[in-house]
């Protein structure tokens, strides 16, 4: 299990940042992703592994309005 923005999400082997975004339906393009307080660059979303137990924060910038 991992935490994403404070909510639990089931962990599976090989889970990447991209997998987290897809599972949460996070389509918004202006995101800042951290895994255990470590920032992940956008270019690394497809390959950056998310370990079991990780605390993931996906900050959506404001946009809108």
């Amino acid at each position: 299990m991992i935490q994403v923005n404070g909510d639990p999400l089931a962990w599976t082997p090989g889970l990447t940042v991209r997998g987290v975004l897809q599972a949460k339906k996070y389509l918004f393009p202006m995101l800042i992703v951290t895994i255990d307080d470590r920032r992940v660059e956008r270019a690394d979303y497809d390959r950056e592994p998310v370990p079991d137990g990780a605390v993931v924060q996906v900050i959506h910038l404001l946009s809108g309005g």
């Binding site: 923005n5 389509l27 800042i32 959506h60 910038l61 404001l62």
Partner: protein
Amino acid sequence: MTAPTITPCEVDFTRRTEYHEGLETIRAAHRLLKEFTFTPSLPQKGYNDRTLYVDLTTREVKEKPVTQQMKDLFVGGRGFGLWQLWNAVTPATRWNDPENEIIIAPGPVAGITQYPGSGKSLVVSISPQTDIPIDSNVGGYFGPLLKFSGFDALELQGKSDQDVILFIDGQRGIIRVETAPLEPADSHVLAEILTRMYAEDEADRVNISVVCTGAAAEHSLIGMLNFTWWDKRRGCIRLKQAGRGGIGTVFRDKKIRALVCRGPVIKADMNHPVDFETLARTGIKLHKEIRTQDDLQCKMRRNGTAHIVEIMDAYDLLPVHNFQYGSHPDTHKIASYVWEGRCSQMTSDGCWYGCSMGCAKGADGLVLKTGPYKGHMVTVDGPEYENAAGLGSNGGVFDPDSLLELNFYCDTYGICTITYGTLAAFTMECYQRGILNKERTGGLELTWGNAEADLEMMHQMARGEGFGLIAGRGVKKMKELFIANGWGDPQLINDIGMENKGLEYSQYLSKESLAQQGGYALTNKGPQHDEAWVIFMDMVNKQLPTFEDKAEALYYYPLWRTWFGLMGFCKLPWNDVAPADNSATAEPAKIPEHVQNYLALFTATTGIQIDVETMLMQSARVYNFQRIFNIRMGKGLRANDIPPYRAVGPVTREEYASRAERYDKQMLEEIGVDPAAKPMEEKMAITREYRMDRYSKLCDAVYTRRGWTLDGVPTMARLKELGLDVLPEVVAIVQAHGG
């Protein structure tokens, strides 16, 4: 939702309907009522230090000085508009009294061509919908052309006894009030005719901007103003809207058919800034950023604000069926890639010079199927997100052609797309729940997605007949009428009618974000998203866990956004694109590099040094002044900040059921009540009490942070901090209300 490959739509644009037949006859019927000469001038350091005043009753035209105190306290734009309006009206003034004004004011930085999004004007008036000041920001060329003709604002007071056009010729220094007896009513026709009429030749058309409205503004309270520019590539006029609050209705009540400004040929340094190099350097930096980042981020150049249609759906935030739900299986039919295919030129499309973000989109080649222009081929400005959501999903309309036609007719009839979308959705839900029926609507079957009935209601509004007349009064007055007629349960009608202060909600679902509930209902003018859009911060990111956190966001962002309205800036280049390294900054949501850009632009234009704190103080003066203005007009207190329950939580059983997991979880974890054995009605009542109590606590926290009493009145201490205590009437109002 997978985006298909987009190819430009293949439309023969030579078939676009043109509107210049009869131009000479129309021109010949004009009669000069007043001529006034002035010395055209360009601003120095962003200011002309004079405004233009026109009394439509007496036809007095005069220049008024801009005082140093006016600049110090109110800066420009919305600030100037509110100050002039304050001086024009009394607490007894209503929207259709002659003393009510319409003020159009670009700000001191408006009109620079170096930095994207710098051509905005702010329009201010007493609203027919809310009875308090409304402010509406708008692109198009009128504001900058007015400014470069020599005026920091245009103040329109009084009422004409016949339809008139006010023509401001900033090249020749002539202002004319002319009768307009034969002019067509609707904007896409009228503005094209007037652009051709007042331009000296084809090349001069880009120097013309028209402000006008349409037929529905005459028969409703939701009229808006179109501001035009001449699109050289398409060879037609384009429209941007000062939409909210019914200013178009005030405009027609004054019998103004149009304002026409012919400005000078635009050059780069017309504001005479103190530091042109900084303007240029700051602009080039953002142009590069847009070029490298936009395709990776919001794709504003390709899709405009409609890029978030499918995103809002994915986050359960898209208003569906009068804000009952947040997503719909048919959203893909109105998603951004659909519009991308309709905007044939597939290029950035700016509403003022120098905007490389260029998010204004024109959907070309729409052949209209209904109404007085049936069979005409037109270019539709949009749809922007608000139009797609309001006219589309919120009423269950998922047919792109119908949505574009609704968008087109809103624009040309001169009614606000946001307002119309929300009021149409309300009528449809009333129809669904038996509050309305065919007999009460005069035969309109206002079922979800019935675009034909939706369009007919709009045509009725323009013709001033049938149920369209009732709908055009807006949600608040419809609620009052339906309740007075005994057509349904008053509580239900009040709960589902999405208005606050008399203004309809704009198109975001706020019920799962307490901060956004405040972001809407704790606004000065009513629930428009241009004060604080904090749903992602609150609901998705969960960055605002406490009341104090939410209150801080509802302190900062409304002030930040107010500043754009003081200057003449568009909000979109602030945070719909961000520097590549923005994520490494301490407060990425604020886009710190862009904040520094804005400070630099203001200082480079005016020579006045400011920092972030000064910037917020500039905004806070105007923001608090507007709150006190509301109080002066008999509103502006806590009782006026209460949202309809639909904006806060589930009104109906179906709504609760659609998110039962969320609501049950809240009940168990936050309220401490086990929902397992509770019947639905009891769970809804518990949820309602809890959520409204939290909203009340949010009000306490926000008022405290803003320096207001718990009744929402700015305190004397806050007034002194802001320097507003030099205005005796402001002080008297605050003191009379315990501030």
